[in-house]
Symmetry: D3
Subunit: 128 residues, 6 copies
């Protein structure tokens, strides 16, 4: 195992935990090597860069996934990852509200449904 | 002029300056009332909410506009707005790098061209 | 309650009924104030403008939501809203057929599945 | 020449005039047969269907092209086609305003720039 | 029945079998004529062109549907159609891996879930 | 320089030549390390995988970039790369024609304009 893999695996565990681990394993079974590339490149090289902390990176990902559409399971993962990284519930909600200006209401209301679900699962007070 | 308009106009001046003012005026000449709605709603109501500061809102907008595509003039405006709000050049660059995972390389490299242009116009050292 | 809110709430009831009311309430519980902004701005300011009647506005929304993708619950709502506003079933179907030229077949066939469902729920003859 | 082609060619002339004719010819020189398919299918079969008049079809196309993004030359063509078909300037503007709810501000403001250009070229009063 | 219809129907049976037949029939019941247009145009005219074989056409469709997003049922159909046309499982997987560069990871991982499902349904060894 | 970088650089030269080299250098000046990541990951790891040859990978990229929209400079690069890899002009044209079914006419006609330009620059007969 390369250093890049070990570094990436650690970040992946922190960001996506069991869900990401399962995704990578399933990927390796149909596209051998590609799952490992993602651990090394996405979680090792990219998440490992300086200049933004993990909270900011998750805020950016939530905005990007909201805008892209058809990303529900990824939004569920990264809303959780953002909370785990220390984002306040209110910061996540406001990032999504802000996206309504560039990307319109349907994308934003869809992500809000997922936020609502995550907050219930974690018994979070949305006004914190 | 409503309080919402005055509050929105002030934020709009801070975010988009002369460029936004011209957009609103041009808009009012073909869709009377719609430009004012945007000042009040987008810059007054939405930008005026608690929970995220202006730096974070601009970071979120840069991520969303990058992901959406076909938003060059808006990216130019909000990269400038982010710098004006106090984002470090490096934070803007890293937010765009992070978007490469959800939205792929063409969108990201396109925004990087605009970042490059803004940095040159403002004689900015990208490593700050 | 502002006049804008009262005007918007009335239009919202007409367009989306109980479903929109629930969306706004759920939104208010996680993003206080944002649900009310939408009532005032989207349903009050925008839907309340001159120049197009409600039938035309719903036709435009159905075309836009079809093109955007990943908007099923919104399409369900606005196909119903279009019928409530007086669009003939055939007009809705033809607007979607026309979208196949700019946006391709998958988006169009997806919306047709929702049209089919709405027509069954309302016991509508599609050829009317 | 088939009946479908003759019917399609006539509608194409009415909708896109010289610009569409040039597109089809250029297309035929690199993808022989495909330009003719489009005349027959898009302009003959689809535009030739019952249930919506040409004004409504153009309103739907303007909404769809605005939402899709990266369609400037097509928007220029269909804003002109809509006016030629008898849409009032105000109806076109309001269709685009309405799209801001599902598809956000950048797409809408981009189309408004093209509307502005077409209105100037045709010396149109936008408030008609 | 026109020659174009007969030719298209045959290709449609080969590509999408019973699922496409049902789609066309359902479509004909709400938009009479449009289902037949699709058989003639999409499966007759377009699939019937020279220059690419069916394997290549399906590879191109899988890449396009992956990139577009919100196309799960169509991806299921065309992954099956690609295998039926003689694409090796590994070729399909690699086409999707390649798309991760232009369109990012969520779209690609979503299609991989569908690939996984199709491979299980057909008891396919992904490394073939 | 790592083996991955050397392998990636070689493939990058073959695919995008001077244009890609310039993109990577410009990128390194504003996002140090990110350009190198792309050489290693995109051109080394991903393009270097088994299962598809370079011709097929370029066909897939052309389909994906066409579908995504707002990718003109990338389409110019990969249409050239496809021809360099040995794709026949007709294969490239037909891949784009096929995309009209999932992604509609504007995206397809836009790519055809770029195809036309590349064919003229290379004095290519489109019917080869």
């Amino acid at each position: 195992m390369s250093d890049r893999f070990i570094k990436g695996w650690k970040t992946m565990q922190q960001v996506g935990g069991k869900q990401s681990e399962d995704t990578i394993k399933r990927l390796e079974s149909i596209a051998p090597g590609f799952g490992n590339h993602i651990v090394e490149y996405a979680f090792g090289d990219i998440f490992g860069r300086d200049g933004l902390d993990l909270k900011q990176r998750e805020l950016v990902l939530i905005a990007s996934l909201t805008t892209q559409g058809d990303c529900n399971s990824w939004l569920h993962l990264h809303i959780n990852a953002g909370l785990n990284a220390g984002l306040r519930p209110k910061e996540i909600v406001e990032a999504i509200v802000q996206c309504s200006l560039p990307c319109g209401l349907p994308r934003v209301l869809n992500t809000m449904r997922i936020v609502n679900q995550v907050f219930k699962e974690r018994k979070i007070n949305p006004l914190d």
